[in-house]
């Protein structure tokens, strides 16, 4: 009996272990292999499951609907990082050896893992796509040729939020004398907007109070009592994971209006608002992409990947903020491959060739429409100098059931952001002895 029970326990453990390993699409010859450093378990598993679910759903769509990219089918392998830096590096090392052409491009989906890979990527000639996270000054591609903080970076988000608040107050001039509190995750990620917000405070004349929340942020009583005492006009929420829902709940508890709270794009998904329940109603968040299922690409995924091919990841996640973001991230990768194919030929491409494709991405409104993304994303055009390509942000408001658009695509203080990016990148280049410049095409 004892032995039987131990065998049962062992078998269960093995099943669980297998469950923790994410789905794998076997690598096939003559395919464009994509290495995915994902996470579906652990503290941020819910976020990862939505993002990487959308990512893989889009790859499946390209294979099923289009037969791949110009006839080159996509294959991929997902390695579980659990949002852990050491495991992220381990996955990267494993995936880079998987195919003759390498893993195409890596989406670390973690600022910590991005930092851990930044000096490896140039040596291995593997581009890193950090869509809305990572190191902000990597937007300067002359210093960081292998890193692509696509679309908008944290400083775009911070200045965009200030612009949004200014609009709500009746113009930037009305911000003078106002009080804004930044409630942030006490980590490298959370501290990222502080320099640019301090610069904005000096420029626009508002008062800024920064309040850190220790990891993981599941208890915020003292922070919110400080907010209650400070009486800010607005609270900017720079949260991640459980911190966001707890902030919304504690705001309700302290009687702070959620209509005066604006989160960044990692604190603005259904995962945060559903967990917070009614406390989230009225809360604003910046977004890199809109939520919703009305886009042609989403309809294609539902009809082709989910219904016809039965290869969908999880139907409940379709159309959510992070699932749509995963779809967009996969589309960037696919379009970079397509762009690179025009130069290097319709065959599986190396990371070096794909890097050129990313740097020359031009996704204008017409192109986005033809891809079925319509207004889900703003137009995007990259260059050696600008590895972001857009700098735009859009705001959504949680109405208690779903995210509703609360603004058009807008830009923050692009002049200030660019100036700070170039200064910071130049400092990094000096420290590391990097000679800034564009890589040859």
């Amino acid at each position: 009996m004892k032995t039987w029970m131990r065998i049962l326990a062992g078998a269960t453990a093995l099943v669980i272990g297998a469950g923790a390993v994410a789905p794998v699409a076997a690598q096939q010859p003559n395919t464009q292999f994509i290495g995915i450093t994902g996470y579906r378990v652990g503290p941020y598993g819910a976020n990862g499951a939505a993002f990487f679910g959308g990512f893989i759903d889009y790859l499946n769509l390209v294979n099923e609907r289009d037969g791949g990219v110009n006839g080159v089918k996509l294959s991929w392998e997902e390695c579980e990082t659990e949002y852990n830096n050491a495991k992220g590096v381990e996955c990267y090392e494993r995936l880079k050896t998987r195919a003759g052409t390498g893993p195409t491009a890596i989406h670390p989906m973690s600022t910590g893992i991005t930092y851990a890979l930044m000096e490896k990527a140039p040596t291995d000639k593997i581009p890193l796509i950090t869509f809305g996270y990572g190191r902000t000054d990597a937007t300067d591609g002359r210093v960081f040729p292998w890193v692509f903080p696509l679309m908008s970076n944290y400083w775009d988000a911070a200045t965009g939020i200030v612009k949004f608040i200014g609009d709500k107050e009746g113009g930037d001039a009305k911000l003078k004398g106002k009080k804004i509190a930044l409630l942030y995750h006490d980590s490298a990620y959370g501290k990222e907007p502080i320099p640019v917000l301090e610069a904005e405070a000096t420029k626009l004349g508002f008062e800024l109070k920064t309040i850190p929340v220790p990891h993981p942020g599941n208890e915020q009583q003292s922070q919110w009592l400080q907010i209650r005492q400070y009486k800010p006009d607005w609270v900017i929420l720079w949260g991640w994971g459980v911190m966001t829902a707890t902030a919304l709940q504690t705001a309700q508890k302290t009687g702070y209006p959620r209509e005066k709270m604006v989160g960044n794009w990692w604190a603005g998904s259904e995962i945060d608002t559903v967990a917070a329940g009614p406390a989230a109603t009225g809360y604003y968040a910046a977004s890199l992409n809109l939520a919703g299922k009305s886009y042609p690409v989403t309809k294609d995924v539902e009809s082709i990947v989910y219904k016809k091919a039965n290869k969908g990841s999880k139907a409940e996640l379709v159309g959510t903020v992070l699932w749509n973001r995963g779809v967009a991230a996969a589309m960037f990768t696919v379009e970079a491959v397509r762009t690179a194919q025009a130069k290097f030929g319709k065959k599986p491409l190396t990371g070096e060739q794909v890097r050129w494709g990313i740097e020359n991405l031009d996704l204008n409104a017409a192109k986005l429409k033809s891809l079925g993304f319509d207004t889900m994303l703003p137009p995007l055009k990259l260059s050696c100098e600008d590895h972001g390509g857009s700098g735009q942000v859009r705001f959504q408001q949680w109405d208690g059931k779903e995210w509703k658009s609360a603004s058009d695509w807008m830009k923050g203080d692009t002049v200030l952001v660019r100036k700070m990016i170039e200064e910071s990148a130049a400092k990094y280049a000096t420290e590391k002895g990097i000679k800034a410049g564009c890589l040859p095409g």
């Binding site: 004892k2 029970m5 131990r6 326990a9 269960t12 453990a13 099943v15 669980i16 272990g17 469950g19 923790a20 579906r40 378990v41 652990g42 503290p43 941020y44 598993g45 819910a46 499951a49 006490d186 920064t210 309040i211 850190p212 929340v213 220790p214 990891h215 993981p216 599941n218 208890e219 009583q221 003292s222 922070q223 009592l225 400080q226 209650r228 005492q229 994971g241 459980v242 829902a245 707890t246 709940q249 309700q252 508890k253 302290t254 009687g255 995962i271 945060d272 559903v274 967990a275 917070a276 329940g277 406390a279 409940e316």
Partner: protein, 298 residues
């Protein structure tokens, strides 16, 4: 002064929430001398099972509660049978290591069965300021936190009656005092352990429901165990009263420190302040405020 009392009361109420988690640790330590590293995982498992069953069956709260409790009792019994029984008479560090393994197993099992999505848990208790306190004293006191404190009080009373007035409770205390002597007088040690793990499962369920209603049911519930550790160090690993008093002291101290000392050093100190306070207590009183002083013959 009004603000000081607001912070103090908020801290005391937050401390009660820590105590709820600490109670689970105390129960198991009292009866077996094992520091159960898996208590946080049990809180997560209990809350996730509760919302999972509710989601799948659509049953009301009062119907799901006994089902989840049964699952937690089963988990407790299986833990005793599969993990602890084969390790009887092994050094305590071995048992501790076993609970580390158990923690990862339970976390994985919970996610495997119910998935990783974040879920809302609505207990029907409003997490809003109590109007009377706001109107008369301009003081923010959360109705949810007060309810949680009442629940914790009831739980402690029930556990006190269970330990002091029932036969099983007396047997538990005997086992806690001396395993060998308890065995010699015919107390079934294995049964007692199974009961203790089941009761710890019940406490984990209560803590999981309250923390889950507060933050959403998600993996981060496993981290609430980190909040309980300084409470245990301060209150003592073997005392239910210590878990409550320790929770109150830690909760109040960390909130006051964050609000009054935090701004001087850039804030964000409450995470480590509680541990520093516990460490200071450890230096002065290693067994904690209510822990039993151990005197070994050498």
């Amino acid at each position: 002064m009004q603000f000081f009392f607001e912070v103090l009361i908020g801290g005391l109420l937050a401390g009660v929430m820590y105590s709820l988690v600490a109670l689970g640790f105390v129960l198991i330590y009292k009866a077996s001398g094992v520091f159960n590293f898996a208590q946080g995982a049990m809180v997560f498992f209990a809350a996730l099972t509760f919302v999972g069953v509710q989601e799948k069956t659509g049953l009301p709260f009062w119907a799901v509660l006994p089902i989840t409790l049964a699952v937690m009792v089963l988990l407790g019994i299986l833990t005793e049978r599969i993990v602890l029984r084969p390790l009887v008479n092994q050094p305590q560090i071995t048992l501790f290591m076993a609970t580390i393994g158990l923690a990862f197993f339970i976390e994985g099992l919970a996610q495997l069965i119910w998935g990783t999505e974040v879920r809302r848990l609505d207990l029907g208790i409003q997490d809003e300021p109590i109007a009377v306190m706001m109107d008369n004293f301009d003081m923010m006191v959360s109705s949810f936190d007060v309810t949680a404190a009442v629940v914790a009080g009831v739980l402690v009373a029930v556990l006190a009656v269970f330990f002091n007035k029932t036969r099983i409770g007396r047997a538990l205390r005997a086992v806690a005092d001396d395993h060998q002597a308890a065995l010699a007088v015919g107390i079934p040690l294995k049964q007692i352990w199974a009961i203790v793990w089941s009761v710890a499962g019940f406490v984990a369920l209560v803590a999981g429901l309250l923390w889950g209603a507060r933050n959403g049911v998600q993996f981060a519930l496993t981290f609430v165990a980190l909040k309980a550790l300084p409470v245990l160090i301060l209150g003592g690993f073997e005392s239910i009263l210590g878990a409550i008093v320790g929770g109150l002291i830690i909760g109040a101290a960390e909130k006051l420190a964050e609000v009054y000392l935090g701004p001087m050093v850039g804030g964000g100190i409450e995470g480590w302040f509680a541990y520093m306070l516990a460490l200071l207590f450890l230096l002065v009183r290693p067994e904690g405020l209510f822990g039993e002083r151990r005197i070994d013959r050498v």
